[in-house]
Point group: C2
Chain length 423, copies 2
């Protein structure tokens, strides 16, 4: 039984001149995948009638489902709604439900309802309107023979809410498909080649309906097993046998058996062990704190952090000694050690992590080479330090530092309770 084939069309000049990064497509693809709908292609085109029509024609030739995002706002550069109306041979009519919703939104936002806003309440009369609780542009669902075309606004959280509440439930009813399931193995510390070599026999012996993909990230490689089949329970069992085989083979480079971010693995450990964490960040400027607090409920284990971008604050708040800074420099094992000890004390936590380094670009007062990053993690009895030398640009060095920092925290936490599966 073959899966439903879908295509995603994103519309907007801003995508083609690179002013906007398309996060919608990835989000939509994840949701469709979880339902067993395969995205075969994603296409981005500009705010141009011919380009949009061509994309619709060519994608409809091979896909049963098209999701369109973008091109629905109230301003002059938005042309998608009238185009879809013509494409599907409808007439534009004011939709009373949409009109009432619009007027309510304008009242809530203390904005006057202008003449041109009335147009936003017009929809083709041959589509099903998908309610947009957060915004003004409604989603639209068109049926064309046995195919479905869904048009959604480009604002990510509006698009997501219409998909969750309106489009996905309706898609489940409309299409039927095989189960498509994933299992992941998150590794850190070795590259793709090493891993591929280590598990070559397992990979070669995979049954035809299970595929393995390598997804390299900052300092990590995620392995993803994807299986498809009509019997979901049987598929889960098969996937987990392969997942265990790979994890056992890779041993202590395995950090998790689910594809969740490092901050979530850390959060789960701290919650399970009723322990608290605090941070002292210099070069990463609060970016690790941001990651840790991305999760709701982080306040159960995260006390806070000190962003000590200037040496003065390392001294004044964390109690790093002036002699240490002068003798060894701010980017040194001695400084990071005093930082982490200060963080433990000042933030009143069970575990602390500290980081100081030079992300780049080079400046005349640098004493260490650009890319040198010192890190320390500590509890009341032990301090571990590590130094990295990244060779990328400022932004990439920061991403690497965050990733390596969280891995270092996780390794330290895991010392007492390893999560590595036994061989």
């Amino acid at each position: 039984m073959s899966n439903i084939a879908a295509a995603i069309i994103t519309i907007g000049d801003e995508l083609l001149i690179g002013q906007t990064i398309d996060t919608n497509s990835a989000w939509i693809a994840q949701r469709l995948n979880a339902m067993g709908i395969d995205v075969l292609r994603r296409v981005a085109v500009g705010d141009d009638r011919n380009a949009i029509t061509d994309a619709l024609n060519s994608e409809l030739a091979s896909a049963s489902l098209i999701i369109i995002t973008g091109g629905l706002g109230p301003t002059a550069d938005d042309i998608t709604k009238p185009l879809l109306n013509e494409y599907f041979g409808g007439n534009m009519v004011v939709n009373e439900a949409v009109l009432e919703h619009l007027k309510n939104l304008f009242i809530k936002r203390h904005r006057p309802f202008l003449e041109r806003n009335l147009k936003q309440a017009e929809v083709p009369d041959n589509c099903i309107v998908l309610h947009n609780q957060f915004g003004t542009a409604p989603g639209m669902w068109f049926n064309k023979e046995d195919k479905v075309v869904i048009s959604l606004p480009g604002v990510p959280f509006e698009m997501a809410s219409i998909m969750e509440q309106e489009a996905l439930p309706r898609l489940k009813q409309t299409f039927f498909s095989d189960a498509l399931l994933h299992r992941s193995i998150v590794t850190a510390g070795e590259g793709e080649s090493f891993i591929a070599e280590a598990i070559q026999d397992i990979e070669e012996a995979l049954p035809a309906h299970i595929k393995l993909a390598y997804l390299p990230g900052a300092g990590m490689v995620k392995l993803r097993l994807t299986g498809r089949g009509s019997d979901a329970d049987k598929l889960v069992a098969e996937l987990e046998v392969q997942q265990q085989a790979i994890a056992s083979r890779l041993g202590n480079i395995v950090f998790a058996l689910e594809d969740i971010p490092l901050q979530e693995i850390i959060g789960k450990w701290l919650t399970a062990n009723k322990a608290t964490l605090g941070l002292a960040e210099s070069c990463t400027g609060g970016y690790i704190s941001h990651h840790i607090t991305q999760l709701a409920g982080a306040s159960n284990y995260f006390n806070g952090g000190i962003v000590c971008y200037q040496d003065e604050l390392k001294e004044k708040i964390l109690g790093v000694k002036r002699e240490t800074l002068e003798q060894y420099d701010a980017v040194s094992e001695q400084t990071v050690t005093e930082m982490v000890q200060g963080a433990l004390r000042v933030l009143h936590v069970d575990y602390a992590f500290a980081i100081t380094g030079l992300l780049g670009p080079a400046s005349p007062q640098d004493k260490s080479p650009v890319g040198t990053i010192w890190m320390a993690v500590a509890d009341k009895t032990t301090v571990k330090t590590n130094v990295f030398h990244f060779r990328y640009d400022r932004e990439r060095n920061k991403e690497m530092a965050v990733s390596m920092g969280m891995l270092m925290i996780l390794k330290f936490l895991n010392q007492s309770k390893p999560i590595t599966p036994n061989p």
Copy 2:
């Protein structure tokens, strides 16, 4: 004189299941645009021979330049290189320069050079090799009749370095084109509809070779004027006349006349005024500090921040009074005022900003509604506070809080030196 038409093809199953967000396309589109090359379409396909071949065929039909990213790694799921070799009728040969570079990389990384890595040194003999200083997979430049196809690895910083150093200079030589220039007006505080109404006459009177686009973001709308023409100096003058006309009309909702991030506008102001900034973040968990320190040179004006995720730290480090927290709650005007005053003192800065709120989801101990965010900005003599009520999810609320927070800082700084153009 028409511009060069390009298409971007991104390859990888991870793009179609949504595990990876495609940042490469936007980056490439920006760079091509700056040269006057128009990106007409972006297409993402999976690691599948037929899909890649179909995409090449269809994009080559309308574009003169194709940039391909992804599908070049050493593992079994990478099939692009042999496919391109066949497509362009070449033979795979070991390239000595690539081989030497690979061996050096492996030595640097203290990794054994494995049998399967030898394959990475093979390239089609009919392409120009584009050196990849940061990684193992070289870029490849193919000529097909008067068209160019460039294949690059998918790892963003490797792709970017090959583009900057190898591909872009060669593209400049290969293609000639009209100037394509942009001018921006960054606004905050009003929606698209309001702005469109306010500048309707200016927009309608724009000459045919100048287009206006509305790019809404978190709490902001960016307006972008795009012009094309053979005389770059004349075009600049024309664009700037329109930019000034729009900016004057929109008055004090204009925050900048260039499309740079808020943190950069803040950084420029602080640098020009030799002033320092510090932050006290509760709900945003270091995310504003991260934004401020994204810029190289931020240490010239940013001292640091306190991420006081727990009330205990608001008290202990920032000196917020326990009675204030108990009587008014952590999310209150009183608390945020004491936070900002504490930050001024503890971080030893000219300007401080503080934020405390509930990003969601709801929890039983919340005293204010989810989405309530208090902010304060202060110098030695004045404290300004503001409250926001966001109605989105946790992530979007955080983005909005960062955006609104930086706007609030900027407004405060601008009070003495407005950047709004005169009418």
